[in-house]
Amino acid sequence: MFSRYSLLPVLIPVATLFLAGGVAHAAPSNAQWQAINVQLTRDHILPRYQTLARNSTELAAATDMLCQQPEQLAAAQTAFHNTMDAWQGIQHVQFGPVEFLMRNFSMQFWPDKKNLTSKQLNELLSQEAAANLTPEYFRGASIAVKGLPALERLLFSDKYQTPYGCQLTAAIASNVATMSREIAEEWESQQLPRIDAAPDGEDYYEDSTEAATELMKALVEPVEVVRDLKLLRPLHKGANKAKPRRAESWRSERSLRNIQLNLAALAELYRGNGSTSVKELLTAEGEAALAYQIDTHFQQLDNQLSSIDKTLYLAVKDPADHATLKQVSDQMKILHRQLEEAMQKLNIQLGFNSRDGD
């Protein structure tokens, strides 16, 4: 027969597992999270979606105008920038109404590794079919041609300059405005009530901590995503090997601005702007140093990105700027790790099987 030997302390009382680490602070209560959830939803998320709805509605009007007055291109481009500003400022929220109907991909199909947006736009432009300009068409259209990257290609090249090209631009802008208004409305009419009702535990959320987990995912995960997709992909293996066309929004020369807006949004989500915040909660847990470090990273990252005086498209090819951007990327990695540590201190489980399954 096989050997049989026993291990010593196999039946450790589970409670003792959690006593390591000095002074015990109780994890934040459901009530504390509820206050933060409500504040962040009302003061951070809703206003940002409302700005997106407003700016994209103005963009739709500006592209309509462009078809009548071709000299209005600069105004349409400005309206595009305002819309992209608003989108970059709320892109970190990947739950709720933006998840329905593929809206997140439809707003911004990117990265586009197979260059589908250009291919499919060219097809639409060569067909010149009136049927492809209707809202009905765009409801079922490919995600590659119904959002902001398609608009960017049209508005920042000469493709819009045919009458049909301009009509297509206006139709896409109208689709973006419709999606944006729907998301803003549904956040107010559906998602806010769900968050308000979380303490009852009978509806969408089982408790306020569960709702907070979604908000905290929106704080932590984008740091890694932005770093990987928007910085490391174009930086590639060095200034002489950089891939500028992998930058987001390079055609409209706003790649760095996007990253700064993403980080500014995360900083606001972290610092709050009212009576309570994630930062304060972390401080109250006895983690003042960590809370301060996270805050400082946001500040320093913004300063570093502001110090770059050219577009990301050019900066990745410049040895000095490449080095600066590599530092930014390294600091974002530290920020991400510290935010994950903060979540552990706050007893927020961002996702175990969903984030690291097998």
Partner: protein
């Protein structure tokens, strides 16, 4: 919610569900075992735990690294916790005494993939392994009566063998070759996404002969076949994971019966999208007719009829991954990464949270086993 029609569902289940609840069945036996699972605590330490019907902890065995699947021995009071990729241990533990019966380690140049099972007669421990030098999957058979020494070492007929199961004949293995090449030096990096070829392989346990093998169609070669379960009719249900572009919308569930083509299944569009290209666990219910598939990234579990591949409904469960059939037809346990446990009844669509020991603040790992 796109839950299925409740009445229709009750009809589907027919007269099967006239049984009392599990609680009533077990009466006062609150300390009787309910399930076992690998878990990770708040300090990042890993455990094999067994929980009683009343939610109390019956076994807490420390593990050296994160584990994946836990298998129950058919006759002995033993649990086997299998290290996840690219780990190098299987702890076989007596859940009554807490004693470690054996720590099984792979040969040099090998590692485990997170899944191993006991043979139906309980004599063998059968594990999926990676032969690192050539990246080929291996199925290793160890004889428990010979101190867990290796008695057979078969090819898995693919790369990255993940979950395996024995068919009803107790001698045919079905193996999910995930197709993804990894190397311990590169951690969990996926090294061959452009050329991966997942497959489902049927292998003779004793001779190692390949009896049958099916693959997804070429255009879906990035659809990794990872988790599976088998019912008494030898029908295999498969949970898939897609490695292609994140906006693709592909089938995420499959069924297979030997001699037939692989049957790829899609949930209704919204649900299929909501599954986020990733399924984590597959289990048949007690009747063997209904299957549950967890999608932890989409925070939901979907239910399927194995007779015709029909999608039946879903249950929202945040970070839910571990699944186990209870003894009642149409009823499953679901465990989550946030440490929760639910009982879900397909007929009533009622999801009931099972209270666990308040001190039990752990993340339940991908798979659970009814004890």
């Amino acid at each position: 919610m796109t839950g299925i029609n409740r009445r229709q569902f009750s009809l589907l289940l027919g007269g099967v569900l006239i049984s009392p609840t599990l609680l009533a069945q077990t009466g006062g036996a609150g300390r009787a075992p309910l399930f076992a699972s690998a878990a990770t605590d708040r300090n990042g330490l890993h455990h094999l735990q067994m929980v009683a019907q009343d939610g109390s902890v019956l076994l807490d065995h420390p593990l050296p690294q994160r584990a994946h699947h836990v298998d129950l021995h058919p006759t002995q009071p033993w649990l086997a916790a299998v290290a996840r990729r690219p780990g190098r241990y299987i702890d076989v533990v007596d859940y009554n005494s807490g004693a470690l019966i054996q720590r099984v380690e792979p040969d040099a140049g090998r590692h485990f993939y997170g899944h191993a099972i006991f043979s139906a007669n309980g004599r063998y421990l059968i594990s999926c392994e990676n032969n690192v030098a050539d990246g080929q999957g291996r199925i290793t058979v160890r004889d428990i009566e010979q101190e867990f020494s290796k008695v057979a070492d078969h090819p898995s007929y693919g790369v990255g063998p993940h979950e395996l199961a024995l068919m009803a004949d107790a001698k045919t293995l079905v193996v999910a070759n995930g197709g993804i090449l990894t190397h311990p030096d590169r951690g969990r990096d996926k090294l061959n996404l452009d050329s991966m070829r997942p497959s489902l392989a049927y292998i003779d346990l004793h001779s190692g002969e390949l009896l049958e093998q099916v693959e997804p169609p070429a255009e879906l070669h990035q659809l990794s076949i990872r988790h599976l379960d088998v019912n008494a009719d030898s029908k295999v249900v498969i949970a898939l994971q897609y490695q292609g572009a994140k906006y693709d919308d592909v089938p995420l569930v499959a069924m297979h019966q030997r001699g037939q083509a692989l049957q790829l299944l899609r949930a209704p569009d919204n649900v299929n999208r909501a599954m986020k290209q990733y399924c984590g666990s597959a289990r048949f219910d007690a009747s063997g007719r209904y299957a549950a598939i967890s999608s932890p990234r989409g925070d939901l579990v979907t239910f399927w009829d194995s007779r015709d591949g029909q999608y039946l409904g879903q249950c929202k469960t945040r970070d839910g991954c571990g699944l186990a059939a209870t003894t009642l037809p149409g009823e499953f346990l679901i465990s989550t990464g946030s440490g929760r446990l639910y009982r879900f009844d397909m007929a009533s669509q009622n999801r009931q949270r099972i209270k666990l020991d308040a001190n039990l603040s752990v993340a339940w790992d991908n798979h659970m086993t009814l004890v």
